[in-house]
Assembly symmetry: C2
Homo-oligomer: 411 residues x 2
């Protein structure tokens, strides 16, 4: 009798986005002519940059020739040209040395952040910020580290670090011990960004606690202030306590192209039950070689093109476009009397719900009164209650129209 992985049954039933889809569907049915503006799911909307399109087209043509055909990608996920480009532009250019053997290319940071827990022991204690990107928690629920869910939507075995207005949505390290902590900056969903001091405090704590930080920098391209850290390795000591993940999804419109990477420094070790230290890089390399087969050649060339002078200019213009949307949302909605956070170094605005309403109530009101779709903050964790996430990934005119409609509707 094949038994199932019963940890799956501890997952909270209603996943956020299906529930949004259900409510939007019901609204559409009741109002067939409604003109909805979607500021919900954080998905890019601008067309793929010409340099990227051209790179894919060229690579496809290349594979149609005997000399240009490529079979299985290398074990680390990508060929040297892409790993060299990442190393040069994302690290060396900011004075951060990273060895090519420390870079693992994959088809997405979602996958990497879901899979990374697998190289750790079953009793590792996990800490996450609250609200949080659900994948960090769900992947640990599935692996049996989270325990049962409470009525409030927490898991008993997970340490939650509330990200609140009071701490600027940047919770400090926990008092109690954690083995593995997930940090995301610029943050999804709150739009908050970690300062150098924030990261220094975390690195200092992790080194003292012998803990590992999983640093998700999927939104680093949206940081506008050049003095803010974009990689956790800009902080002294981080190489011995942090894994970093980056993605091409948001920085270059790759959500439908699929490319990301994870850095596991050689200095980073975990412990066996007898106290022996084992380089985590070796474990991740083994996982990558056994359970992954690399990124498509055409996608590797697409990612390489993001670093070309033309690709950099074009994708930077896309980021600028989204950040101008964020400014319009922030200023417009502040003018309409809302209290807002984020949106300065991140494509997400974290809006306090008016009059102490719940996230879902406000979601429904936005839909009914302004035909605008947001994302209820409570869907990202209990401390998200009382907030709505608005995404700046959208068409400029529609974003401006959304601001106007919300202002007109009055809240």
């Amino acid at each position: 009798m094949a038994q199932i992985n019963e940890h799956y049954r501890k997952l909270q039933a209603g996943y956020l986005f299906p529930e949004i889809a259900r409510r939007v569907g019901a609204f559409r049915e009741a109002h067939p002519g409604a003109d909805l503006i979607r500021l919900g799911i954080g998905d890019v909307t601008l067309p793929l940059a010409p340099a990227v399109v051209e790179a894919i087209r060229r690579a496809a043509a290349e594979m149609g020739t005997p000399e240009g055909m490529r079979g299985y990608p290398p074990e680390q996920g990508a060929e040297d040209f892409l790993i060299a480009a990442i190393r040069e532009h994302d690290y060396a250019a900011r004075g951060v040395p990273v060895d090519p053997s420390e870079i693992f290319v994959s088809d997405g940071s979602k996958q990497d952040s879901a899979n990374i827990q697998e190289i750790f022991g079953p009793r590792c204690r996990i800490a996450v910020t609250d609200p949080v990107y659900p994948v960090y928690v769900d992947s640990n629920v599935m692996a049996g580290r989270a325990g049962p869910a409470t009525a409030e939507g927490y898991y008993e075995g997970v340490i939650y670090l509330p990200a609140t207005e009071k701490n600027g949505f940047m919770p400090p390290p926990p008092e109690e011990h954690a083995d593995l902590v997930y940090l995301c900056s610029p943050n999804n969903p709150t739009g908050a960004v970690a300062t150098r001091q924030n990261l220094e405090a975390w690195v200092d704590w992790a080194r003292r606690a012998d803990a590992v930080i999983v640093f998700d920098a999927a939104y680093d391209a949206f940081i506008r202030d050049p003095s803010l850290p974009r990689s956790i390795y800009e902080i002294d000591g981080a190489r011995s306590c942090a894994i970093e993940m980056r993605s091409f999804s948001k920085r270059a419109g790759f959500t439908g192209v699929r490319c990301a990477y994870t850095v596991v420094p050689r200095d980073l070790t975990g412990s066996t039950s007898t106290g022996e230290r084992v380089p985590l890089r070796e474990l991740w390399a083994r996982r990558h070689a056994t359970k992954f087969n690399g990124v498509p050649y055409v996608v590797q060339r697409a990612a390489e093109a993001v670093f070309d002078p033309e690709g950099r200019k074009q994708t930077a213009a896309q980021v600028d476009y989204y950040m101008e949307n964020a400014r319009i949302l922030r200023e417009g909605l502040a003018g309409a009397g809302f209290t807002l956070f984020g949106g300065e170094h991140a494509p997400y605005i974290w809006m306090r719900t008016p009059e102490g309403r719940s996230s879902w109530e406000t979601f429904d009101l936005l839909l009914e009164r302004a035909q605008v779709v947001g994302t209820p903050g409570s869907g990202f964790g209990p401390s998200g209650e009382g907030y709505i996430r608005l995404s700046a990934f959208g068409d400029r005119d529609r974003v401006a129209e959304a601001v106007e409609r919300i202002t007109r509707a009055g809240f």
Copy 2:
């Protein structure tokens, strides 16, 4: 103190292909001018079919336009057009009904076959054929189901079913109970193919044992006899006991393009510890939604093109080419006195080593005497000892030259 997943340390150290690379490297160093013929790793060599190249190029151009831009793929991994094409050409055309909701598109059968164990409980008993594609076993070692390795290269907790000359490399179901069994037909590495009777016996056993079969049909396109089953669902009752995996890698030269899919029928259930039945499809859907983010749009279009009339013709011609290579290898080496198996419905020849030599000894001899690189059968499991796997994925002239060299060298 972050503890590691100690099950990783039970993995056998020397992975097969790195060891081959090491020996080939040493040979090259000793013989700098040597002209090696590689019949080792099973990777495609022919250029990507023109219909596939064109589909990628068109899809890339589409994504460069506002109307054609695509963000995140759907939760099941691909859009309706690809799922419909798979359903029609791979299933309906053979009289096998499969619901679109049962098809999950991914970036590779390696990944799917590594990940599938995750939806099962930690104490599920695994059975594999021996020799075997290492990923089935290694993924279970990493998850803690395999226990420690023995000196002979087996894992204590895994049931091995020897595939031998005596049983035509198609072992019957085990006497002892297994919960989850991995079958691969046409087989990698032996090249054997399951008949209808073989599969009927397995389905019958699985239904009686309440076990689940993971049926890996990555090489189904190489089956030459139309009366042989290409899907396990051609067998009555398989929908309630089997998961099937297929890939575009070998059938259409996609090893560097990355696309595959897994079918989990709605009729298939597993059990909780209290005996409640749970549809496995729901668990796999949840895994797919949480830990995967779909296949690149350009790759989905590439896979769709494999089913177009032109794509089918072109990719069928590639398979024919490789199978003619297989014929040349089979007949040539049989003429040189070797005993061979497989290669009739599979791109792999399973060659008995001469004079009772070991697989690695024969590997070294082939390298030294004929400058031909094979794959030692013992690398796929202890019962592979005494065999060499030769791959038919290669250039026609080089394959013929390999036969000539081996014949000339004399063994």
